[in-house]
């Protein structure tokens, strides 16, 4: 028994092939063809077939393609390893406390991720979940302050400062752009006559973070009624 090489290798192959086929191939079959969809599609939960209830317009189809600057920001998110402390998945209501923490008004579903060239679900919540952070935080200023030095808006946070994404420059030089400069509490502000300005990397990263929103309905997952107009 198991003395011959072909037999051993058949066993080694078959055991892994089973889980490969059962999870990845089956997963690809079930999820690989998902398309953006309007909420007016009704999906029959048993047959899994969809039926159009209203004519579908392009602007009703979700999720929508991300825009350029946010995509550049995602590259920053990836190369800085933000995923090591932040998830991007809202768990269903009643499983954990994601809803109660205000991390989302609805659960994330596979269709939410179909446009993502790199899916960053994450496995650690050293920091809060970010799947819906763009809806939680309105102002770009908050993101910049938080990235420049988390202590300035979240005292006691263990998130590292990303000051290297910002430039300190003398006010007035290079046609100093005051509108872009960060408003910081006195103890975090640079010395007199200087200002902190986001680099393009920081602007892109903030654009990406602000684009993370679960504010649309899908046929299989709707926002709770009170948040709809």
């Amino acid at each position: 028994m198991m003395k011959s090489l072909p037999l051993v290798f058949f066993g080694l192959f078959a055991t892994l092939a089973l889980s490969w086929a059962g999870l990845l191939w089956q997963g690809q079959k079930q999820l690989g063809g998902l398309q953006p969809m309007s909420e007016y599609y009704a999906i029959d939960p048993i047959s899994n077939k969809s039926r159009l209830e209203k004519p579908q317009k392009d602007e009703d189809r979700f999720p929508q393609e991300p825009v350029g600057l946010a995509q550049q920001g995602k590259a920053q998110y990836i190369n800085l390893g933000c995923v090591s402390c932040h998830t991007q998945q809202v768990r269903r209501q009643g499983f954990g406390a994601d809803f109660e923490r205000g991390w989302g008004d609805r659960q994330s579903v596979p269709r939410d991720y179909i446009h993502q060239k790199r899916v960053l679900l994450g496995s650690s919540r050293t920091g809060p979940d970010l799947a819906n952070v763009g809806q939680r935080r309105e102002s770009p200023d908050w993101f910049h302050q938080h990235l420049y030095n988390p202590q300035s808006v979240s005292p006691g946070s263990t998130m590292p400062p990303y000051a290297f994404l910002y430039e300190k420059r003398e006010i007035g030089q290079n046609g100093g752009n005051l509108a872009k400069a960060l408003e910081l509490p006195a103890e975090f502000a640079p010395e007199e006559g200087h200002e902190i300005v986001p680099t393009l990397k920081a602007e892109a990263l903030v654009a990406y973070l602000r684009s993370l929103k679960l504010d649309y309905n899908l046929p299989e997952m709707r926002l709770p009624d009170e948040s709809q107009e």
């Binding site: 028994m1 198991m2 003395k3 090489l5 051993v8 066993g11 080694l12 192959f13 055991t15 892994l16 089973l18 889980s19 059962g22 999870l23 990845l24 997963g27 690809q28 999820l31 690989g32 998902l34 990836i78 190369n79 800085l80 390893g81 933000c82 995923v83 090591s84 402390c85 998945q89 499983f95 954990g96 406390a97 109660e100 923490r101 659960q107 579903v109 596979p110 991720y113 179909i114 993502q116 060239k117 790199r118 899916v119 679900l121 994450g122 496995s123 650690s124 919540r125 050293t126 809060p128 988390p150 979240s154 005292p155 006691g156 263990t158 998130m159 590292p160 400062p161 000051a163 290297f164």
Partner: protein, 490 residues
């Protein structure tokens, strides 16, 4: 399958022939492994200090938390884990094939490529080319080299097995062949599905979970088990408890492991059946875990004086006990009600260290203590340093596991606790973060203890090599002086 006790063990002379053929590849892998272990510990300490003091070296983009954390895991898994697993695994495979193996050059090439790949990969992570896919953070320009090296080594292992001395197949050989064959498969699959032709949406995440789970379960764990199955009977001089169970344990582990990773997506954006499959498979792992526990522990039981006498065996036994514990904890953590709390907390990183350090690394340390004297034909220069290494490792990893399991569980409870009217018990997220700090400080301390042990280990190895080089030089000069009169005469 024949039991090994019915066949004659290979003569010592033959074994030393086999060891001779494997000497340079084994040394290359083992010494590289130690260098990576130390490099990994430097990154681990940086990660640990940064997790409690976010301002530490924060001005340097290359050493930002996300990058050093990824660099740490890649050093630990591919640098230390990969080299140790090839060094120990291929050496055991060659010994069990009972024949001096040809083509050690192929192993040297594989080893050089593997190490070059990890170096380029870790450098790529630091300079900002990382992928942010867990345990696959190396940029593709490094991963293609890594895949090539692993395929080369797998081919060598297959050929070695094909042309072995006829006779019984040992369960250690099955585990090594499995590890050699499965790694390139999961690695290449993951590279294709994630980077070459990225799959749509969360199929990527499923691939990542399948890969990461199998990286531990079908690569590092089989190598560790193979070494345990080889060393325990070898050092004790008695066969393992049940050979029939050993085979059953191997094939059930091979069958169930592949499905277990999906338990991590419980509550997440994937069809519910996937998490269920992962939980069922994780529970089914009880079978191979119990079989392995019975085989390892019952072979040892009643022979503790031998465990105390053999430094190698002491590490291996610590590793096998950790196997049983980590396995059972994994079963419990897979349950939905437990996963709801433990998911996304420090418990995850704790469990990974339970496997990689308390199980895999401890067995690899034991195997290296057994191998090096046979490769260099000399004994370890210092028993004290071995003792120091053992106790630092045992205490360090225990402190780390307690800190991460306990701290993670408390963190999870505080994050998920809801009172009777549906509002949060611990409203302030930052307070939960602050509450993890004492546990994270304990982790930093545990890493320092582990580092002291690793330094003792390294010092012993360097001392041994220094002696080996000295005596090699002596034999060279004495050979020269004995040759001189002859040359003068001719």
């Amino acid at each position: 399958m024949n039991t090994p006790s019915t066949t004659k063990p290979p003569a010592a002379a033959q074994l030393s022939e086999i060891d001779k053929a494997m000497k340079w590849p084994a040394l290359l892998f083992l010494l590289s492994a130690v260098v990576w272990l130390l490099t990994g510990t430097v990154f681990a300490l940086l990660t640990a200090v940064k997790s409690t003091n976010p301002g530490f070296l924060a001005g340097c983009e290359w050493l930002t938390y996300g990058r050093v954390q990824a660099a740490y895991f890649n050093c630990l898994i591919y640098g230390w884990g990969g080299n140790a697993s090839f060094g120990v695994g291929l050496w055991i495979l060659a010994r069990l094939c009972r024949k001096p193996m040809p083509m050690p050059g192929m192993l040297l090439v594989g080893g050089v490529f593997w190490n070059a790949a990890v170096k380029i990969g870790v450098a790529g992570i630091i300079i900002g080319d990382m992928t942010s896919v867990e345990w696959l953070e190396m940029p593709t320009y490094a991963s293609s080299l890594l895949a090539f090296a692993s395929i080369l080594l797998a081919i060598w292992g297959t050929l070695a097995f094909r042309y072995r001395q006829p006779g019984p197949v040992f369960v250690s050989q099955l585990y090594i062949l499995g590890a050699l064959f499965w790694f390139p498969w999961i690695y290449v699959t993951a590279q294709i599905f994630l980077f070459v032709d990225p799959a749509r949406g969360v199929v990527q995440s499923l691939t990542n979970l399948w890969y990461a789970h199998n990286l531990l379960g079908l690569w590092l764990i089989p190598t560790g088990l193979s070494a345990a199955y080889y060393l325990i009977p070898k050092i004790l001089g008695r066969p393992i408890h049940s050979y029939y169970f050993a085979t059953l344990g191997f094939w059930s582990l091979a069958l169930f492991t592949g499905w277990g990773g999906m338990r991590h997506i419980v509550g997440g954006p994937a069809p519910a059946w996937m998490a269920t499959v992962g939980i069922v498979a994780s529970m089914a792992m009880v079978l191979p875990i119990v079989i392995l526990a019975v085989n390892h522990h019952l072979t040892i039981i009643g022979r503790f004086e031998k465990v105390a006498a053999s430094p190698a065996l002491r590490f291996v036994v610590f590793g096998t006990v950790s196997f049983t514990l980590a396995g059972l904890i994994g079963c419990v953590m897979s349950l939905r009600s437990v996963g709801e709390v433990s998911q996304f907390t420090l418990m995850g990183v704790g469990h990974v260290h339970h496997w990689i350090y308390a199980f895999f690394s401890m067995i690899m340390f034991g195997a290296i203590y057994f191998m090096m004297p046979r490769l260099l034909n000399r004994s370890w220069p210092s028993g004290k340093l071995i003792q120091g290494h053992f106790w630092c490792s045992a205490i360090g990893i225990t402190v780390m596991l307690v800190a991460l399991y306990a701290g993670g569980w408390i963190q999870g409870l505080q994050m998920t606790a809801i009172d009777a009217d549906g509002s949060l018990v611990n409203e302030d997220f930052l307070q939960i973060v602050r509450n993890t700090l004492p546990w994270l400080h304990a982790r930093t301390a545990s890493l320092l203890i582990l580092a002291i042990g690793q330094l003792a280990f390294t010092a012993n190895i360097l001392w041994m090599i220094f002696h080996a080089v000295l005596s090699w030089k002596e034999s060279l000069s004495s050979a020269k002086s004995s040759l001189l009169p002859e040359t003068a005469a001719s």
